[in-house]
């Protein structure tokens, strides 16, 4: 109990006044000589005790009246134990900024209600309180690096926030919030969750994690309160929502003018059917196609669009659905697509031929450029250039995105150095076997105990004629069976492949790889690379991530003998594929199979785009763009990609809200690399490179957030109770409770009512004792 006007409490001394008046009256009595004493005396003797009690009651009431008046004027405040008063508070706001918070309630969006509540709460915090904000949408993120005491700055920042992030990670957010609270020195700590309490998000909070969080809350020396304020009205349980759940683009690269399919899936979270729903596809904002479909209540609908682009570069494909639902954010979804103009492929032929289809790369060249070879007026995506091994130069390498070493016996040391540097800077290399390989050179230089470019050393030669004296003599088709009756040919194992190039053949209609006969192949032994001094030096000179990316070779395809057919290994920023057999018809009948063309096309295009960072990202994944420097180094003596003194360009990043920010590029081998890790918000990010060309990144998030069903009040209570928290019915109620808890409750109105009651009681009792009223 404290007093706001303590001096006025001394007025309670006035309680002596009625006492003094009582004593004064008793001492200043009048004397009457009375005749009817026999009446008076009997009355007095019979009621003496009652009169005394009545007098005491009246005296007590009369003494209480000035005392209560003084107490009323002193404005007492009723306080409990442990009152904090204006002691600073450590507060961590867990603000749900998932895109379900954009759903509109009658009073506005849920997010605006949450921000208003947060601002109201901040306005009532004592001076010196420290506030931290955790944004729970997508990956839990701190709004500020450290807790702030400038509450107005926090309020301003909150007002600028926009929702639209992915599903809330409740457990992660609570954990982050508690970690933040540990850094706030305050006698009282609060963790306030402002969320719509979406059923999907809170269902992910398991009982075990909730119990662990509760223990952690109670474990601290300073008590931590967990408060949960639902900002969505549970009265409005209509969760009618239609969402674009996914947009799927073709996995293989798409070239200019090539037609491709965009598959999209719509999902209904409503209890009603969406009839004649209009679904439209736009490419870079330009309408491409519009269809009407029907989505049943709680069901899905797939829509397939046909599309093509006449311009190369980065494009954005957006699917939008027009529906009258609760949440508009998820009514459209975008995906980023790279349209390739052409992919230059350099075919280094180790066994050129004089006759058609006699050269090592002749079949391959035809397979990669079928339209050109067939004189069809269509543009091939791949552009090939065949050179003999001796003519492989660095300028040639720089013009190519994929290099194929087909049955190349050996390279010069200079060529090997150029090639190694090119691959590790992001080049794609395919090395195929053949009868002209210099196995020693390949083992010593190209494999180099696993530290070279080759994923595996060329091992034993197997297959038909492999035990013959001259593999080259048996190279002619049809003569292999006679060379060694015990030897046999092999077939590719038919299995579901995860490799991007071979996944195309998971669909049997695209061709059956197992029908091909592999007559001769080298055994490729997969072994981890050994660390050498030279490699250590090399690794030290290269970025750490590039060193780490050089891993164990992965087997992409295998023969029925158990021997690997196709190996893949990343080398620096590049990738190397090793084919255990030849690409021409000498060692297999692959070129004679219908799937040879798509197989080679898939391999080349996959290799071409594999070195490019992905454009369709999950929320929070870094958006990385690799691009060539603006100017090539002029000096021929400078073998480095760029001069160290050359200033690095600044990249502009446009986020989904239209805000621009600058990114600093950094050198990554022969490329420049721009990276942004601020990709929490789903949507389209655009990097504008120094060449003026945009690079689009489509950031996606889990579409489960589109399920707008909320926890019902009972579930809310249970969920909060298992965390050991308190569910707030309204912010106003909480603020009033907190104000009382902090400052106590003024009780002068009660005292005033009591005073009036005492006055009335005094008059009533006086009248009653005097017999005026009965």
């Amino acid at each position: 109990m404290t007093l706001l006007n303590p001096l006025l409490a001394f007025g309670a001394i006035a309680l002596l006044v009625p006492l003094l008046i009582h004593i004064f009256n008793r001492s200043r009595f009048r004397t009457i000589e009375w005749g009817a004493m026999h009446l008076l005396e009997s009355v007095i003797s019979q009621n003496r005790r009652r009169f005394r009690i009545d007098q005491l009651i009246l005296l007590l009431i009369r003494c209480l009246i000035p005392a209560v008046l003084a107490a009323c004027l002193a404005r007492p405040v009723l306080t409990g134990t442990g009152l904090l008063g204006n002691a600073p508070v450590g507060l961590v706001l867990l603000l749900d900024n998932s895109y379900s918070m954009e759903a509109t309630d009658p009073a506005g969006t849920r997010f605006s209600a949450a921000v208003d509540s947060a601002c109201q709460l901040l306005a009532g915090l004592p001076r010196g309180s420290q506030v931290s904000v955790v944004l729970t949408g997508g990956r839990p993120t701190l709004l500020f690096d450290r807790p702030l005491t400038d509450l107005q700055a926090v309020t301003r920042r909150l007002r600028q926030l926009r929702p639209g992030f992915g599903a809330s990670d409740v457990a992660g957010s609570l954990q982050l919030g508690m970690d933040q609270l540990q850094n706030i020195p305050a006698v009282r700590r609060q963790l306030l969750v402002l969320s719509d309490l979406q059923a999907e998000d809170w269902a992910a909070l398991t009982k075990g994690s909730a119990t662990a969080l509760q223990k952690q809350l109670q474990a601290g020396t300073v008590p931590t309160e967990l408060l949960v304020l639902p900002v969505a009205s549970t009265q409005q349980q209509s969760a009618d929502n239609l969402a674009v759940e996914s947009v799927e683009l073709p996995q293989q690269p798409v070239g200019v003018g090539q037609e491709f399919f965009v598959r999209t899936r719509l999902r209904s979270y409503a209890a009603k059917d969406f009839n004649t729903t209009e679904v439209s596809l736009t490419l870079d904002g330009q309408p491409v196609s519009t269809v009407q479909t029907e989505v049943k209540a709680g069901g899905t609908a797939d829509v397939l669009f046909r599309c093509r682009s006449e311009a190369s570069g980065s494009h954005v494909v957006t699917v939008a659905v027009s529906a009258d639902d609760l949440l508009g954010t998820d009514n459209q979804r975008s995906a980023a697509l790279e349209i390739l103009n052409s992919v230059p492929v350099l075919l280094v032929d180790g066994d050129p031929g004089t006759q058609p289809l006699q050269g090592e790369t002749d079949y391959l060249s035809v397979a990669l450029t079928p339209w050109t070879f067939g004189r069809v007026p269509l543009t091939d995506l791949l552009q090939t250039q065949v050179v003999p091994a001796a003519q492989l130069t660095e300028p040639l390498l720089k013009t190519a995105r994929v290099v194929v070493l087909a049955n190349v016996p050996k390279l010069s040391d200079q060529q090997l150095e150029w090639l190694t540097s090119w691959v590790r800077d992001g080049g794609a290399l395919l090395v195929t076997a053949g009868n002209r390989l210099d196995l020693d050179w390949h083992r010593l230089k190209l494999w180099n105990e696993g530290n070279g470019l080759l994923p595996a050393v060329w091992g034993e030669l197997r297959g038909v004629g492999s035990d013959g004296a001259s593999a080259g003599a048996a190279a002619t088709p049809g003569s292999a069976a006679a060379a060694s009756p015990s030897a046999r040919s092999a077939r590719i194992v038919s299995r579901r492949s995860e490799h991007p190039a071979l996944a195309f053949f998971n669909d049997p209609s695209n061709g059956d790889l197992s029908t091909a006969e592999i007559r001769r192949w080298h055994v490729l032994t997969v072994a981890p690379p050994s660390s050498t001094a030279a490699d250590a030096v090399d690794a030290a000179e290269r970025p750490a991530d590039a060193t780490a990316s050089a891993g164990i070779p992965a087997v992409a395809a295998v023969l029925d003998t158990g021997d690997p057919l196709l190996l893949e290994r990343r080398s620096g920023d590049g990738v190397v594929l090793q084919l255990a057999t030849a690409v021409d018809a000498d060692w297999s009948d692959l070129p004679l199979r219908p799937f040879y063309v798509p197989l080679m096309q898939q391999l080349m295009t996959t290799l071409a785009v594999q070195i490019q960072p992905p454009r369709n990202l999950l929320a929070g994944a870094p958006a990385v763009a690799l691009f060539a420097p603006a100017e090539e180094p002029a000096a021929t003596a400078d073998t480095g990609p760029t001069s160290p003194t050359q200033p690095l360009p600044t990249i502009t990043l446009l986020d989904p809200l239209g805000a621009r920010s600058g990114l600093s590029a950094r050198q990554q081998g022969r490329w420049l690399l721009a990276e942004s890790t601020v990709t929490q918000r789903p949507g389209v990010y655009t990097m504008t490179l120094p060449d003026g060309l945009p690079r689009h990144f489509a950031v996606q998030t889990d579409s489960s957030e589109s399920d707008l069903r909320l926890l019902d009040p009972g579930q809310q209570q249970a969920a909060v109770e298992q965390l050991g928290g308190q569910l707030l019915k309204s912010l106003q109620e909480y603020l009033e409770t907190d104000r009382r808890r902090r400052h106590g409750q003024e009780i002068w109105p009660l005292l005033l009512a009591g005073l009036l009651g005492l006055l009335a009681l005094e008059v009533l009792l006086q009248q009653r004792f005097a017999g005026v009223v009965r």
């Binding site: 009256n25 008793r26 200043r28 009595f29 009048r30 004397t31 009457i32 000589e33 009375w34 005749g35 009817a36 004493m37 026999h38 009446l39 008076l40 005396e41 009997s42 009355v43 007095i44 019979q46 009621n47 009169f51 009545d54 007098q55 006086q766 004792f769 005097a770 017999g771």
Partner: protein, 300 residues
């Protein structure tokens, strides 16, 4: 108090022309206003009876003899004078002097009433006596009808002062034993005392066939108990008896007790066929008596 103060000219003029008649037969010595139990030869004819030897021949109705040839005697109803005894309470409680009584104490008021009544009785040829008493009989003046008797009565009234305690029952028994002939007994008292004992004493009067009229003298203060501030009530009869009280607290209980007392008294008087006339000191005694006499005449 002097005789003119006791019986003022105003009171005399207010009561002149009024008569106090008794409701029952009384025994007197001379003819007067009041019916006597003895038949005689007065002016008011009562009956004829046959002549018997020894009767006064002057009482023979000769006219009736001429008609009937028999001797009859005319008998007339005898009228007698009234023997009235005024009993004046001179106890201490009669000394109370209220603020609304015009400076009169109850005793002074009772004295005036007694004087008025004595004058009235003597005026109508009745005899009047006076008994003053407190715990005992102070003075007994037998009834006389002579006009000069008024002076004795008034002198006695002037000399009386209230003082001692009240003992009505014993005194009334004593007085009743001293009044032998039937008559009118007028009691001027506040009747403060035990009601049962009092009623028994009054019954003594009634047993002797006296007509009893009690003028109960009240002060307004005793009837409405108007006191507010703390007061020490000191007994007029016993100075050691005093109580310091808040009158406001007492008032309700006092009034209740008073009502019970008056009810008990009224019931007892009614049972004994005694007239109980409450008089308050705030009204002029002559007016009060005149009003009572008027009522009594109408009732007769």
């Amino acid at each position: 108090m002097s005789a003119p103060q006791v019986l003022s000219a105003g009171d005399v003029s207010r009561l002149s022309g009024l008569q106090l008649l008794v409701k029952q037969v009384v025994e007197g010595f001379s003819s007067g206003l009041h019916r006597s139990p003895h038949k005689g030869f007065s002016v008011e004819f009562r009956e004829h009876r046959a002549y018997v030897p020894g009767d006064d021949i002057r009482t023979i109705d000769w006219k009736l003899f001429g008609k009937t040839d028999r001797l009859y005697i005319r008998e007339y109803e005898e009228e007698t004078n009234l023997r009235c005894t005024i009993l004046l309470d001179c106890s201490g409680s009669m000394g109370y002097r209220g603020s609304r009584a015009g400076g009169l104490s109850k005793h002074e008021f009772a004295v005036r009433c007694a004087a008025c009544l004595a004058w009235l009785m003597l005026q109508q040829q009745d005899s009047v006596g006076l008994v003053t008493f407190d715990t005992q009989i102070r003075r007994y003046i037998p009834p006389r009808a002579r006009p000069r008797h008024l002076k004795h009565v008034l002198n006695e009234l002037c000399t009386q002062q209230p003082g001692a305690e009240t003992g009505l029952a014993d005194v009334f028994h004593q007085i009743a034993s001293r009044i032998h002939r039937r008559g009118l007994v007028l009691v001027l008292s506040d009747l403060f005392g035990d009601v049962d004992q009092l009623m028994k004493a009054l019954a003594h009067f009634r047993h002797a066939r006296h007509e009893v009229v009690i003028f109960q003298i009240w002060d307004e203060d005793e009837l409405d108990f108007p006191f507010r501030q703390w007061t020490q009530f000191s007994s007029l009869e016993n100075s050691a008896q005093r109580h310091l009280v808040d009158p406001a607290q007492l008032r309700k209980a006092y009034l209740q007790k008073l009502a019970e007392y008056r009810e008990q008294l009224t019931r007892g008087c009614s049972r004994q066929r005694i007239s109980l006339v409450p008089l308050t000191t705030s009204q002029p005694c002559a007016d009060a008596l005149a009003a009572w006499l008027a009522v009594r005449r109408r009732a007769r």
